[in-house]
């Protein structure tokens, strides 16, 4: 039973990270109908910037928590600028182009970012400094550390904040209006370009936070971390129903749980034939199964709610 609980906890932690990244995909998709393939690389850039900032600041002897806070803010700011730039350069000129054109520029941007990161930060794995307390807690037979608790807490806070922003503020209303019908929104006086820019920046800020969380959790940063995480988060967004905020959160957490439980139990389920290295297969099978029965994801049909 404690193994089960442990897997659930691990899944929730992983799932919170997926959910944060998935929100970035889903927000952009909701507004532009576009898969922002470069989003995973934004996560990576966030982690890398945070790494550099915290290395610099730790050398000055500042307390770790303060360092983390500053690193977080710098990384979020950097990613917001990056997200803004990506949208301006690679997507905005193609808004009326054939559907696949922005997909290719997105792929191009992600290749560029990955290789820029390789040039700046090198090919090697970097150790992410320990900035958070690392106490262990036992919870009904399962073990969880402070970093993981904080990850879940922060993810929860960010998601609540985002929901409030989208549903309770003027900006959020503008976002929902643009998602629903861009030309009508424009006629009603919404500055579409501004709303889209802000959406990209918000998504990128969430990506930065997610990037730092993953790095803190595993203690490692690598230029390639973004693509795999991005892929998983995109899967999560689709699982929940892309374009739908609640769907992205649900999808993220579910995917985390599926992977974690899959890794833990797939061996037993298949009589030892499949090992934990099949956990991704398991996740994709679940995704395909869900889409067969609900072709637009778990919460995909509630179109009116997307942001």
């Amino acid at each position: 039973m404690d193994i089960f609980l442990q897997q659930i906890l691990n899944g929730l932690v992983q799932g919170s990270v997926y959910a944060l990244v998935a929100l970035g995909y889903t927000m952009v998709y909701g507004i532009l109908g576009l898969i922002n393939f470069a989003h995973g690389e934004v996560v990576m850039v966030g982690a890398m910037v945070a790494l550099t900032v915290s290395q610099l600041l730790l050398a000055t002897g500042l307390p770790p928590l303060l360092v983390l806070l500053i690193a977080l803010m710098v990384a979020a700011a950097a990613c917001m600028v990056l997200g803004y730039g990506i949208e301006r350069i690679a997507y905005r000129p193609l808004r009326n182009a054939p559907r696949l054109a922005p997909l290719i520029t997105a792929i191009g941007v992600s290749i560029v970012l990955q290789n820029l990161a390789m040039i700046f930060w090198g090919r090697e794995y970097h150790a992410f400094p320990q900035l958070l307390p690392n106490g262990l807690h036992t919870l009904g037979g399962a073990v969880i550390n402070d970093v993981q608790l904080i990850i879940m807490l922060v993810a929860l806070l960010m998601m609540t904040g985002l929901m409030l922003l989208v549903h309770r503020t003027r900006l959020g209303r503008a976002m929902r209006a643009v998602a629903e019908n861009p030309s009508a929104a424009m006629l009603m006086g919404v500055d579409i370009n501004r709303v889209i820019s802000v959406t990209f920046m918000l998504g990128s800020a969430l990506a930065a936070v997610a990037g730092i969380m993953v790095s803190a959790n595993y203690g490692i940063v690598h230029y390639y971390m973004g693509s795999i995480l991005g892929l998983k988060a995109f899967t999560a967004a689709v699982l929940g129903g892309i374009g739908n905020l609640r769907g992205a959160m649900l999808g993220g957490v579910l995917l985390g749980l599926i992977e974690s439980l899959g890794a833990g139990y797939i061996g037993d389920l298949s009589g030892g034939f499949f090992g934990s290295n099949y956990q991704d297969v398991f996740a994709f099978f679940v995704l395909i199964a869900v889409l067969i029965f609900r072709p637009s994801g778990l919460l995909g049909e509630r179109v009116a709610e997307r942001a």
């Binding site: 559907r99 696949l100 390789m118 040039i119 072709p295 637009s296």
Partner: protein, 374 residues
């Protein structure tokens, strides 16, 4: 590119153009070998392989409008089919004319297997499922070395038989009519034949009842179905035709390389093939070929250029040439799409085939098409 069309008029220059093109294509490996070295002949071989793949994907994405991000899976199926049946892995050495078509068929079957559950999905949902399918295949290839060793896992399969038949192997230098042809040259001509075959098939399909049905689905699925097109079958047909091409190229790839591993079949490959199709000009065979050639040559040219140019500019290597090469490649993707959003050579001004006994109408139509320019 007049292969599959009825000639518009007998006196056209088409045949002359054809003849020149044929000579250029036949002479290419020798010229390349002499001017740039044998490595570039090998690159030409790869360009042909990728053109085949891109044309296969073009059927799915370009004609039928189904976004497939896992196309490399079919390439993998064809390659592993060849590798398992013609290598010491199981001690099997089946003849190539059995293994290659089998690879195509098997891949076609996998195409249907993938297509069936995705029929109700649209656009980006389809993209993620196909992507997942590609990853599933790759993960299986990576892990099917235990408990029973089938694929040899991440180490891959080596010592795969070269393409050979009747005692003649393309894996070694051969004398043909007194001309010495090294292995890469031989493969070049083999791949050229297959590429021409794939082009021929694509052209014929494009200008057919089936091709029109694909395009109708791409343009408007609801209207297509209302016009009596069984969208389920026609989509499955697109998936399996595209997959067959992929499987065929996979077999050729395995024979050519002599070694394959799951690494060659990553998501990046699928993305690259998709880029060829979209960048070149979706749905237009000429555009897709152009895209394939460019995306194979560009990274190679950058690989050879990135180091020396830095040396020349700054006197030393500032930036890792490999990173710089991919960086420039990514930039090129962005810039090309921004400048030409419909691809380098889009398929707008396609002229359709006309029946050959309808000459007066042909003339009228040619006049109406060209009337303004005269």
């Amino acid at each position: 590119m007049n292969l599959g069309k009825f000639p518009y008029c007998k006196k056209c220059n088409a045949w002359r153009v054809f003849a020149v093109l044929a000579i250029v294509l036949l002479a290419l490996p020798f010229v390349t070998d002499a001017l740039l070295g044998r490595g570039w002949v090998r690159i030409a071989d790869f360009a042909l392989l990728y053109i085949m793949l891109a044309l296969g994907l073009n059927i799915v994405v370009g004609y039928a409008g189904l976004l497939d991000l896992g196309y490399v899976a079919f390439f993998a199926v064809g390659a592993y089919n060849y590798a398992l049946l013609s290598s010491p892995q199981f001690g099997l050495h089946w003849p190539v004319w059995v293994v290659l078509p089998l690879g195509g068929l098997l891949a076609g079957f996998f195409g249907v297997l993938l297509g069936a559950p995705t029929l109700r999905l649209r656009g980006d949902y389809l993209a993620i499922v196909t992507l997942g399918f590609g990853e599933i295949i790759r993960i299986f290839l990576n892990n099917l070395n235990a408990p029973v060793n089938v694929t040899n896992g991440p180490q891959g399969i080596s010592m795969i038989d070269p393409v050979q038949s009747g005692g003649i192997s393309l894996g070694s230098t051969q004398q043909v009519f007194g001309i010495t042809l090294p292995s890469v040259h031989l493969y070049y001509y083999l791949f050229l034949c297959f590429t021409l075959l794939v082009i021929f098939v694509s052209l014929r399909l494009e200008n057919s009842r089936i091709g029109r049905a694909w395009m109708a689905i791409r343009e408007d699925e609801v209207a297509a179905e209302a016009m009596g097109i069984n969208t389920r079958n026609i989509k499955l047909l697109a998936f399996s035709m595209g997959a067959t091409f992929g499987g065929l190229s996979g077999g050729l790839f395995a024979g050519f390389q002599g070694f394959i591993s799951p690494e060659s079949f990553s998501l990046t490959e699928s993305v690259m093939i998709l880029c060829m199709v979209v960048l070149g000009g979706m749905g237009n065979i000429g555009g897709v070929i152009l895209g394939g050639v460019l995306l194979v040559l560009l990274p190679e040219a950058l690989r050879n250029g990135a180091g020396p140019v830095q040396q020349w500019l700054f006197g030393k290597t500032l930036v890792d040439p490999e990173s710089l090469r991919m960086l420039l490649f990514g930039l090129a993707l962005v810039v090309v799409m921004l400048v030409r959003p419909a691809g380098l050579w889009p398929s707008t001004q396609r002229r359709r085939e006309l029946s050959d006994d309808d000459d007066d109408v042909v003339k009228q139509e040619l006049e109406s098409v060209y009337g303004s320019s005269k």
